[in-house]
Chain length 521, copies 2
């Protein structure tokens, strides 16, 4: 029956002790088994869906009332998900989903061992309709756009879930529970809710706290009664992905103050501890609207995720995912690359290419200066991989926005940098970020490097935790309720700070003493 | 907002106070209104169905957040049924349904005044498939029989409910709550549950306690989220109709001991008080299987419901429903008729026709003695209305079973007749029963007539009470849990008692002193 920790779950397999029907005990089939479950779970509210009751008379007789029942808890009741013959060994699975705007990640978990048996990620199929949230919101409001966005997503999810099940040699109805973390727009589209008002002042979502839904209600082709937990959001720009991230980081339980930055398609930031949590989102800074990701690529085989530039020779050494021939660059690789170019003197404090240092690698491409990172013979695309001035400008705007947001919010809540005990970096984009490179660029403050903790996909980790543990699930609502969302005031002062932060690492180099030291050495 | 008693309801209209969205309060639409409701209902568990959330963003803006919300309570949560603009006056209705095997009755209730605005009854459309429960159970197990039985019923219900709404000039989605009382087989067929095991030893229903269902789940074309309360049963032969009847009679709240007899297609009997309730059902007596109703007709215009026979002249005076020309006879009329024939000496203690007394009215018809009750020129069918020996024998078997059951159960639980403070007669068939005639026949014990209280359709009354009052709804589960069902042992002793009871009023006339007195006078 698995680990002790299973008893901390809000999805449980229970084997009720059931007396066989007789003339002396004419209790109905459903009520008979309910009574047995009540005794095990010490709960009077056991709910059986009508569809399951329909199958009970024949199943109970087939299994001679020796059944194991799978239930989930919600609002003081336990709801039956499915039932199985006690005599057979069964395999059951759970799926935790990070519903990113660009990329979707799924952890496939063995219900009994609670171990992740497989993790996959794939492009969000809504990308074909629009790569960013605003395009999708607009599309959703046109005719049957919303339905199309939802269907596209569900079809892909169903296909991937089916294949995950097949690889474990079970049918997909053995997937008996699911959690979904995503930004507010993505969860709205997943639920078929119109996100129209999310991007319109005063930015009101349709819902903050979706109920636990049943898979069949949503068109998910897993066990029909499987509970689907959609992580709650705290506003249009503060999604369940961030709430899940806060949970996964553990920052909401600590006395010391931490920062969590989720660098995804948007940049979101939370500061706080066990007593308070203040959050703001990058969408407040207009420079971030283009998105850090616009010049990058999603992590996949062949994508450059680490770059070193030899300042003496100007030689590039790159690392790609799975060591495949390079085809593009992901977020962490881009930050590495630009930081290294700066340290090698190939770009200046404004991010402009330094012709002398760049040499042959520099040329004009569609009216822009462009630096060849990898030459065609060595790439996986048979074309040169280049970085142009516009890419750098875009990254610098983004990093400036990030830094300014951190700076502004810390000033606003009067927390000096020295009080930060941990700085967590989460999100797909920020998964493998090298904190030293990010500090070099002036994207994040010049704190001791050990304070920076890249956490990988915190949204997915949060979804997994909330799916497996009743306590963690409760905690997400607790966290969400405790978050104070701060709408950043993009006024003249913000713009001044932003403009000062567009330099590498910053106009005020005294803010980045470690970078100054490294540049001197 | 209606009467004070509305606040006792488990369906309530609430006008939450909602702050308009602003940059300072970015709470989502659904959660914003939820908060307002929480304050009014003093409950944290407010549940919005996803389908309703989908419509919220546009509706709230259309109504400027001035909405009235209709909710129902279940298991500690309040569930949204629908929402309306606060500025408009709306009409809402509830429907209480008695789902009889032969006949269905509906009370259409104004939600605000809690008054019955119309009551209808119609033949159960499943009659076309089979007139009795056993035939339908058999039909349900053949191919798509169950689905057909359920569909037939739903189609008819939907049609009648639509017309009820139309007569109040509203659409049927303004019917926002429903309760259904019926015997265990009928509620199973209503819910689409296979009743196969109900009639097979040890007689186990699929369910005793259906959850509150949503109308859309069942295919009821009223407000999709309207709650449908199906009254719980206490076994295969002790349906929600009887549980509702006990509620309506009030016997479960009194210190004194009462009896409730529900004379429908089956005969069911409950004895008890506020401390205990013992029930048994007529299906235990084989003589009742033919059913009292087999020679009668359902109450409808032209049906004879009262008969007087002048013992001197032998003249019949009959009363028909709505004073239409007679077309048949209903239960109460039949009991009257046979009792009057006996008092007039036209039948003897064995129920056989007394030729001398019957005169010209008596003749042979298809090999049986038959008495003409109404001659062709005066009937609504242009044929003589006759009562034959077989009709009488059948009634006497039924009345003997009824009396024997009463006698047996009172002996079994050691309650003397003198301890009975009230004897309630419920059920469609027994609605207008004349206790004096029933005593004359020896169908019910010879108690002072004021103890007998015909209650009409107690099942329907119980359904109405449970629909309107949270306390009454709680009480039905309480009653159901307190009933001890007694399987009558049809042994030699029972058969001896039964045979003795087949005479009019009884072989042992000392049991019926009042009848003896009347016969002598």
């Amino acid at each position: 029956m698995g680990k002790v920790s299973m008893h901390e779950g809000w999805i449980r397999l229970v084997k009720p002790s059931v007396n066989l029907p007789s003339l002396k005990d004419n209790t109905a089939d459903a009520d008979r088994v309910k009574k047995g479950i009540e005794k095990v779970l010490h709960c009077q509210n056991i709910v059986f869906d009508l569809e399951l009751v329909k199958s009970m008379p024949s199943l109970f007789r087939k299994y001679e009332y020796e059944v194991s029942t799978l239930l989930f808890q919600d609002k003081g009741s336990w709801h039956l998900i499915d039932l199985y013959p006690s005599s057979e060994e069964i395999s059951l699975y759970l799926a935790a989903v990070d519903l990113g705007t660009s990329s979707i990640a799924v952890r496939f978990i063995d219900f009994f061992t609670q171990e992740v048996v497989e993790e996959i990620s794939f492009t969000n199929p809504q990308n074909k309709i629009g790569s960013d949230v605003l395009t999708r919101i607009h599309f959703a409001s046109q005719g049957s756009g919303l339905g199309k966005l939802q269907c596209t997503l569900l079809e892909k999810l169903n296909k991937e879930l089916k294949e995950l099940a097949q690889r474990r040699s079970v049918l997909q109805h053995r997937i008996v529970g699911m959690s979904v973390a995503g930004n507010t727009t993505m969860t709205h589209l997943f639920l078929g809710l119109d996100p129209y008002w999310i991007c319109r002042e005063p930015y009101i979502p349709a819902i903050n706290t979706p109920e636990i839904l049943k898979a069949s209600e949503l068109g998910l082709q897993i066990c029909p009664q499987a509970p689907v937990l959609v992580l709650p959001n705290a506003g249009s720009y503060l999604g369940g992905d961030l709430v899940g991230g806060i949970l996964a980081s553990g920052m909401a339980k600590k006395d010391e103050i931490s920062i969590l930055v989720d660098v995804g398609t948007n940049a979101e930031l939370v500061v706080g501890n066990s007593e308070w949590l203040v959050a703001c989102a990058g969408a407040a800074g207009p420079a971030l609207e283009g998105g850090v990701a616009s010049i990058g690529m999603m992590a996949c085989p062949g994508v450059i995720d680490r770059v070193r530039v030899n300042p003496e020779s100007g030689e590039f050494s790159i690392r790609t995912i799975e060591n495949k021939p390079p085809v593009g660059i992901c977020g962490s690789g881009l930050i590495d690359l630009v930081a290294q170019l700066f340290m090698a003197g190939m770009i200046d404090v404004r991010g402009k290419f330094v012709r002398d240092k760049c040499g042959d690698r520099l040329r004009r491409e569609e009216g822009l200066s462009a630096l060849t990172i990898v030459y065609a013979p060595e790439t996986g695309t048979a074309e040169d991989l280049t970085l142009n001035q516009s890419d750098i400008d875009s990254l610098l705007r983004s990093k400036a926005a990030m830094y300014t947001i951190i700076q502004t919010i810390l000033e606003m809540i009067e927390v000096p940098l020295q009080k930060i005990s941990d700085f967590y970096i989460g999100g797909t984009f920020g998964s493998y970020i090298d904190p030293r490179s990010a500090v070099t660029l002036g994207m994040i403050p010049d704190l001791p490097l050990e304070i920076y903790k890249p956490l990988g996909n915190t949204s997915l980790a949060g979804a997994e935790m909330a799916l497996l543990s009743a306590k963690a699930r409760e905690e997400i609502y607790n966290i969400r309720d405790r978050i104070t969302y701060v709408e950043l005031n993009v006024n003249q002062q913000f713009m001044n700070l932003f403009n000062a932060a567009r330099f590498i690492p910053h106009t005020d180099t005294s803010l980045f003493p470690s970078v100054r030291v490294r540049l001197m050495s």
